[in-house]
């Protein structure tokens, strides 16, 4: 079969492009090298929906961020993913920096960011009481919001699949050849397509080199993030930013859609695209910086940490149609604010594909909506009673820290989870204080049962990360 379009990369960019293209009468395949979608750059995203500030007024990323912020609100309703507008504060610690704040304000206004204003100590004391009293002014951006980065990817993919997109995981692309269209070879098979979108995240440069566009390099910039217990949900009321530097937006206090505040990230350019380790130094840097903004931070409230890699290539996004190879669109260097911009990037990519000759005819029966997934942790007692009437196994609690039922875990696997991490990202089971101490065995059994696998084949995050090394039970 020859697909109309092949999308390489199952992160937020690839799945947003897939969902946008699924409005049209096209055959589409999406390839992901990992065991599950969102397992690359997207899984470590902070989930901030940026207002558009902190970007130069003439930048592509600035424009797409402001547009994405608008689009994401409607999109989140359509595909049933929780979005909350919480607002952000960009703070300064000395009044001498006020001109820099004013520059951010005017740059933001040029980009069309709405509602921006500078707030003073009095406003801050009232509206952000845990913020250090040494902060004299802040730029308030009310349109900042939060979303779950992986649930956004999964729900985009699920809606795209409902509209005919075929999704293939564990498909590492190893070669691109020119045929009548393009022939893409993976570690498992060949795919043929007339058009291609490279949304390969950290590996976009390596995939581009396969089709001869080796003129850019992706450098991983590591960011360590530290998550706090849910009981500290109100550490701050807004997302708190320092003034940006040339290395990025600095160390933040982030609100997340699951309730746990998150602090970080560090920003360190490294070589190894697989190095997701955290460090003692990173821990110190994050906690020291955050204490300056929120002095009441208690490191004993940290319950989890991780590192992610930003795919950096220059200062701006690279989104272009390859003129030497008509039919290929490269989407690279999508670091912050990539998640926010993703729906706008998708629109932009579709325009480039149309210009490159892709014939776009709308589907008559595009399924715009995806019913929201039910989560016990986000449900009232009354709603829980309703869920139990629908399925008694909503009352069978597997993860006690985060209140996740057997039904939700089974549903996650039926919706595409293949691994323990995939279940965690979708349901929050194992994401609480005990880190799966009590629920790991139950989750393993549900995955094994649903996927008809032996328990020894259940993995944390794909092949090579099997949880156990042997089965000691006597053969039946």
């Amino acid at each position: 079969m020859i697909y109309d379009i092949l999308i390489i990369g199952g992160g937020v960019t690839g799945t947003a492009v897939a969902r946008e293209l699924s409005r049209y009468q096209l055959s589409i395949a999406l390839l992901e090298k990992e065991a599950e979608l969102a397992f690359g750059v997207s899984k470590s995203n902070s989930g901030i929906v940026h207002p558009g500030t902190q970007n130069p007024p003439d930048s592509l990323k600035g424009r797409l961020c402001v547009r994405g912020n608008k689009l994401l609100r409607g999109l989140s309703r359509e595909i049933g993913v929780y979005f909350k507008q919480v607002g952000e504060l960009i703070i300064i610690t000395t009044a001498a920096d006020l001109p820099r704040l004013q520059k951010l304000l005017s740059d933001g206004r040029k980009l069309g960011v709405r509602g921006l204003r500078i707030v003073d100590r009095k406003w801050l004391a009232k509206n952000e009481p845990n913020l250090s009293s040494a902060v004299p002014y802040a730029l308030y951006a009310p349109t900042a919001g939060i979303i779950s980065p992986y649930r956004l990817v999964y729900d985009l993919a699920e809606n795209a699949a409902a509209n005919g997109v075929e999704i293939f995981t564990d498909q590492l692309v190893t070669g691109v050849k020119k045929g009548r269209g393009f022939i893409v070879e993976t570690t498992r098979r060949k795919f043929e397509a007339r058009f291609m979108v490279n949304a390969a995240g950290l590996y976009a440069d390596e995939v581009a080199a396969l089709y001869g566009a080796a003129d850019f390099k992706i450098t991983p910039r590591k960011g360590e993030e530290y998550l706090l217990d849910k009981k500290r949900e109100n550490l701050t009321r807004h997302i708190i930013f320092p003034l940006p530097t040339d290395k990025g937006k600095g160390m933040l206090v982030i609100k997340t859609s699951d309730g746990n505040p998150m602090i970080g990230p560090t920003a360190e350019d490294i070589e190894d695209k697989t190095d997701l380790s955290t460090t003692a130094e990173g821990f110190r840097k994050v906690t020291d910086s955050v204490r300056e903004m929120a002095p009441c931070l208690d490191t004993r409230d940290i319950i989890a940490y991780f590192a992610g890699l930003r795919p950096v290539s220059g200062a701006d996004f690279i989104i272009r149609a390859e003129t030497a190879l008509p039919g290929i669109v490269t989407v690279a260097g999508i670091q912050s604010p990539g998640l926010t911009a993703s729906p706008a990037i998708a629109e932009y990519v579709v325009r480039l594909l149309r210009k490159a000759g892709l014939n776009l005819r709308r589907k008559k029966h595009f399924q715009k909506y995806r019913p929201a997934t039910s989560h016990l942790f986000a449900s009232s007692v009354r709603r829980i009673r309703g869920l139990l009437e629908r399925d008694p196994s909503y009352g069978d609690i597997v993860c006690r820290c985060e209140l996740v039922s057997a039904r939700e875990i089974r549903e996650a696997v039926r919706r595409g989870a293949r691994t323990m991490d995939g279940v965690k990202f979708r349901t929050r089971a194992q994401a609480g204080r005990c880190h799966g101490g009590f629920c790991t065995t139950r989750i393993m059994k549900i995955i094994a049962e649903e996927l008809k696998l032996p328990l020894t084949a259940v993995t944390k995050k794909g092949a090579g990360s099997e949880l156990v090394t042997g089965d000691r039970r006597a053969p039946v």
Binding site: I302, F306, C434, T441, K460
Partner: protein
């Protein structure tokens, strides 16, 4: 709303002892909520001996110790047992909401005993940096995998911390053919019972390194090794392994009633109250809690 004189949350050794003691002392209707499908709690995965030496004056395994109490229950029709029942909310009016397959119940209690046990401290709580591969388990989870599910957590094991569960698991994994390369303790002495250091490590030639700190866990898919600091000599070295067990202490599980401390008629016993070394002492103290709850109910009635 159904009413009970006494509701006990948790059917491990603490909850079982409290229920039986309260019934013996005259409580007439008791509801015992157990989240698992079996009573006995963590004792079920403790298949090693050493339980009951004080309370029963004989040596039992964990499941045997639990069975002694479970066997008593048919004599107590006033104790209603609800299995697979997970308490999600307890209010200051002593209304308890719990979930079980197919239903979400709210009940009213005259008195409540929280016997919710404890949870293990994790690698994250002590901030060990490095990678996050498969093969890092809390010692109790490794015990459950092996003893309840029959699954071997790993073959080349390093244990961080020398808590009792870690020591017990060092022996257990060795008996199952795994190689336990080291138990690493940051303090100057083991956190576990001396008898466990002798019977679980020394008898099996498993080295215990005191004043050693793990600086890093490495491995992309599965654990590949740990970087260790010898704190006395200030030297670091690497230990290759495919599995890391973390045994760095236990924390009372009190989240569900954290906002209710000091509430009259709310009692806490067992590891939810404080972490115990010996289950025999849990039984002894939890029986007292059962009595206290009945006394409270009587004084309320007298009012």
């Amino acid at each position: 709303m159904r009413r009970y004189e006494l509701v006990i949350v948790g059917g491990g050794p603490a909850g079982l002892a409290a229920a039986i003691a309260a019934a013996d002392r005259g409580a007439r209707n008791i509801l015992l909520l157990e989240r698992d499908q079996y009573l006995g709690g963590i004792l079920n995965q403790c298949i090693h001996p050493g339980f009951g030496l004080q309370y029963f004056r004989e040596e039992l395994t964990g499941p045997e110790y639990a069975a002694r109490f479970i066997a008593e229950l048919p004599k107590y029709p006033q104790i209603e047992i609800s299995r697979r029942s997970f308490a999600v909310k307890v209010t200051a009016r002593k209304e308890i909401t719990y979930l079980k397959p197919g239903c979400c119940e709210t009940i009213k209690a005259g008195a409540v005993i929280m016997a919710t046990g404890c949870r293990e401290r994790t690698r994250e709580m002590i901030h060990i940096p490095g990678d996050r591969p498969a093969g890092v388990f809390s010692a109790g989870l490794a015990q459950k995998l092996l003893n309840i599910e029959g699954l071997l957590p790993g073959k080349e094991v390093v244990i961080i911390g020398s808590g009792d569960i870690g020591l017990i698991m060092a022996r257990r994994l060795t008996l199952e053919g795994a190689r336990v390369k080291a138990v690493l303790e940051i303090q100057e002495k083991s956190a576990g019972l001396t008898r466990n250091v002798v019977q679980c490590l020394e008898d099996f030639n498993i080295p215990l390194y005191l004043r050693h700190q793990v600086l890093k866990i490495s491995g992309r898919g599965r654990v590949a090794g740990v970087t260790v600091l010898n704190m006395q000599e200030n030297k670091t070295f690497e230990l290759a392994c495919d599995t890391v067990l973390v045994s760095v202490g236990l924390l009372p599980e009190r989240d569900i009633f954290a906002d209710l401390s000091g509430l009259p008629g709310l009692f806490v016993c067992g590891n939810a109250d404080k972490v115990y070394d010996l289950v025999d002492n849990v039984t002894r103290d939890s029986k007292k809690t059962g009595f206290l709850a009945v006394e409270y109910l009587r004084s309320k009635n007298a009012e």
